[in-house]
């Protein structure tokens, strides 16, 4: 016998999570996310995961591409930033984005589980840091925090 927990209906939860915060000045009704990761496997998993909970997604392969996107005028509500990437890594890209005045929620995702490495990454300006790949529960919590903070 298998007992499943009672949860919110999936489609209702999707609507709550996907709804953008008010006052952001964007005409889009969906929360936008930028996936910054050099690993194609992680990019694909996170893209499907975020889309499934109702978020808009875009992906780039390294920190420099993320910084260049912001320099070109793009903006995202949530950035998932990998730690180790070629050209420009996560900490450097995060520092640069914060120096540019970017206030988007930036969440570090890393395969490294050592606390000292996560703290180092956090010190670059992250809002939070998780071991990848993210789970549905983690993304749900992130988006609820995003909505609550705004």
């Amino acid at each position: 016998m298998l007992l499943l927990h009672i949860g919110k209906p999936f489609n209702l939860r999707k609507e709550i999570l996907g709804k953008k915060m008010r006052g952001k000045g964007s005409s889009s009704s969906k929360i936008s996310t930028l996936i910054v990761d050099d690993d194609p496997l992680t990019r694909r998993i996170h893209k499907v995961l975020l889309t499934k909970v109702g978020l808009e997604t875009q992906a780039v392969e390294n920190g420099k591409e993320a910084v260049d996107l912001y320099r070109s005028g793009a903006s995202f509500d949530l950035i998932l930033m990998d730690l180790e990437m070629p050209i420009m890594d996560g900490p450097k890209a995060t520092k640069e984005l914060r120096a540019m005045g970017v206030q988007s929620m930036i969440v570090g995702v890393t395969a490294r589980d050592l606390e000292v490495e996560k703290q180092m990454f956090m010190a670059s300006g992250l809002d939070d840091c998780y071991v990848k790949p993210l789970t549905t529960d983690t993304v749900t919590a992130l988006v609820e925090k995003l909505n609550k903070d705004n």
Binding site: M1, L2, L3, L4, H5, I6, G7, K8, P9, F10, N11, D39, P40, L41, T42, R44, I45, V48, L49, T51, K52, E84, A111, R112, K132, P133, T135, T136
Partner: protein, 185 residues
Amino acid sequence: MGKTVRGQWHREILSSPSLSLSPMGGWQRNKGWSHSVTFTRMERNPLQRQVAYMRRSLFDQGYLDEQFVQLEDLQDDANPNFVEEIVTLFYTDSARLIHNIEQALESRPLDFIRLDDYMHQFKGSSSSIGAKKVKNECTQFREHCSARSAEGCVRTFQQVKQEHTILRRKLETYFQLARQAGLAN
């Protein structure tokens, strides 16, 4: 509540149906409400039972962990072959990493930092698909890198490759059988 009938179990759902048998051999949540359900084994054809048994074995024997279930949960009408797609992507990417590690193991003296970096990537990818035994062997390899043990690295790398190959064969068989079960259904 549903009654069990000898030789044939049936599913009793407390509210609207939220589960159906996935062609992949497990249970999948249908779109819509998720409710508490109690259910007993549904009657399935032999192929579906075989797929379910094979899936169960992969977990029970330690080849796969919870992350594989996370991937299954992401599979839906929009991404109907998502799990197989991710596994295929893993094996394509890991072939590159294996080649890099093999080359690095041939250089003298061994660059343990580079080896550790490659294996870190390999371990990360293995974790992404829930490849539990492969991931564990990756951890062993990295411990030998930390200890700067060339013999240890060479030996454990063989084990990494072995588990990597074993899992690929098992998953290929599993996906093939699941496709047949899906068609048969």
